[in-house]
């Protein structure tokens, strides 16, 4: 139909494409390069740097100096493996608890009277807009030994001495569940809301108990929402920095915090980059699954 090049289309695709390519994709190539470099006490704090003026010799020289020393370092020092495993454990357990709280919430939202629904949804979305940092900060005052939770529990006579929750893994779980709950509830609500009620009624008419009908009809049909929501919690939780740093104290190791410390305290850019590469590799599969699901959903809607 169209003759020649459609310059409008080229610009429309090209401008956001090039922006994302330069500022999002290209930087990952640089992270990989720095991860293969060595630490030096200089500015920038890594070697080798590419010498453009040396031509081809500069290139070969540059590539011959790259090595896997930083990755070797990650294997030699136990702290990296430990913090990686700890992140995996914390992300999995908190995703499970988010689901445990989020599912009944999304389910109730989907069944709520139409007239309330706009305002209820607004109430789910609103915390998502308020600062993450502030919401995490709010928990410090609640969880600390002389904090509000302990004084309330002691006031009611439930405990005699303050529980130490702040600066433990428990505080990190609470922080993650609290911060990421809306991320799980929204996709889950979307899939529960679309659910065909006649199927559930049919199951009940055919003699299913309500509990059995839930597990045999409702839950399997809501699985796409469960998976999408869980990824939205699990993936960012794996690399979370603010929550373990503010609520977990020094005893909680998480890979995001280790990366941060490596970069800001030790100023070891190559090791920080190697940590980033390993973390990214471990997230590639969940991220790809998440992306495929988003695309399929978009195709289904259009």
């Amino acid at each position: 139909m169209q003759r020649g090049i459609d310059w409008g289309r080229v610009m429309l695709i090209g401008i956001p494409f090039i922006w994302l390519f330069v500022f999002f994709l290209l930087p990952f190539g640089i992270v990989l390069k720095i991860a293969l470099s060595d630490f030096v006490n200089a500015l920038p704090p890594y070697t080798p740097t590419l010498d453009w003026s040396a031509g081809l010799a500069g290139f070969t020289d540059f590539f011959s100096k790259l090595d896997f020393e930083s990755f070797q370092w990650l294997l030699d020092d136990k702290i990296y493996i430990l913090s990686y495993l700890e992140s995996l454990k914390i992300a999995l357990i908190s995703t499970f608890f988010t689901l445990l709280i989020g599912y009944p919430m999304a389910y109730a939202l989907a069944k709520s009277p139409q007239s309330w629904r706009t305002i209820l949804l607004m109430l789910v979305i609103l915390p998502f807009w308020t600062s993450f940092l502030i919401r995490v900060y709010a928990w410090i005052g609640i969880l600390k030994p002389e904090g509000l939770l302990n004084s309330a529990l002691m006031g009611m006579g439930l405990i005699d001495e303050p529980l130490s929750i702040l600066n433990t893994t428990t505080a990190v779980y609470i922080g993650i569940v609290y911060s990421y709950l809306p991320f799980l509830v929204l996709p889950l609500y979307a899939s529960l809301e679309k659910l065909d009620h006649t199927l559930l009624e049919a199951a009940l008419d055919l003699g299913c108990s309500p509990v059995k009908a839930f597990w045999q009809v409702t839950f399997p049909l809501s699985l796409p929402g469960v998976v999408a929501g869980s990824f939205l919690v699990f993936i960012p939780a794996m690399g979370e920095f603010v929550i373990p740093d503010l609520l977990g104290g020094s005893e909680t190791l998480m890979i995001g915090k280790t990366l941060w410390n490596e970069f800001f305290s030790n100023r070891d850019w190559p090791v920080a980059s190697a940590v980033a590469v390993v973390l990214l590799l471990s997230l590639v599969i969940p991220i790809l699954i998440f992306q495929r699901m988003q695309e399929r959903q978009q195709e289904a809607e259009s």
Binding site: P16, W19, I101, V242
Partner: protein, 267 residues
């Protein structure tokens, strides 16, 4: 028990979940009006922390930097994100489409420490001085993907025959977009801008990696204060930020609702 309709079990789980979501924020707001310096002991009503907050030049300066970054990056992100949404929903197939949608969806879930580190290393590699502009570019990049998702969901759900009619009636593609498509998707674009604005306003991790001397943002300031311990001024500042964002979001959604109703009437 009636399982197909809203019952007491649903009401209880909603109440508990909302209590969990809102109690910490409400307590934070309450204690910003606390006269006592001890953040967790009530010592009477006072607004003195608000007064001392506004006299604190450090905070005011950081607030100004944050606002400038947020406005500029949200505006750039809205333009780029809307273009990206049009590509996702209207451009059909082209080489690199998989890569394109990958670059749109992966920043949504990418851990911020990775994005921040990667951006910083790029800026160092190309020799760009870290400061206001590097934070702005970094924020534009990750928030444009959120805008793209918000706008593309609106583009999917609207009637394409309107666009086709405009083209049949002699509009070129550009004027069809500005005359027909843009007015319809405008509420989504406004929502996208607001989302990008608040994401930029909130961001600590990416800003910490990409900022330089003299460009400290408000979250960075809050973070360094919080590391030193609880501080009633932070409670006051948090309350103001929460109010600011909540009022903005509620007004925008009301405006969006009205625009939809007007459109429905016209149809």
């Amino acid at each position: 028990m009636n399982v197909t309709r809203f019952n007491w079990f649903n009401a209880t789980s909603l109440t508990l979940a909302f209590a969990f979501l809102y109690l910490p924020i409400l307590l934070l707001i309450l204690f910003s009006f606390n006269a006592s310096k001890l953040v967790t002991v009530w010592g009477g009503f006072s607004t003195k922390w608000y007064v001392s907050l506004f006299q604190n030049e450090m905070f005011m300066e950081a607030a100004w930097v944050t606002l400038k970054v947020a406005v500029v990056s949200a505006t750039l992100a809205t333009i780029l994100g809307t273009m990206a949404a049009l590509v996702l929903t209207r451009a059909g197939r082209f080489r690199g489409r998989m890569l394109f949608s990958g670059m749109i969806y992966s920043p949504l879930v990418m851990p911020e420490v990775i994005t921040g580190l990667a951006m910083l290393l790029l800026f160092v590699a190309i020799g760009l001085d870290r400061g206001y502009w590097t934070i702005t570019i970094a924020h534009t990049t990750f928030t444009m993907c959120f805008v793209a998702v918000v706008v593309s969901s609106r583009l999917i759900s609207f009637d394409r025959s309107l666009e086709e009619a405009a083209l049949d009636l002699g509009c070129n593609k550009l004027s069809a977009f500005f005359e027909v498509t843009l007015p319809i998707i405008l509420p989504a674009i406004v929502a996208g801008w607001l989302l990008a604005f608040t994401l930029s306003l909130d961001d600590l991790v990416i800003a910490s990696f990409t900022s330089g001397p003299g460009s400290t943002t408000l979250p960075m300031k809050i973070y360094s204060q919080v590391r030193l311990g609880l501080n009633p001024e932070i409670n006051a500042l948090s309350t103001l930020l929460i109010l600011f964002v909540s009022v903005g979001v509620i007004l925008a959604s009301l405006a969006g609702k009205r625009a939809e109703q007007m459109q429905a009437k016209q149809d």
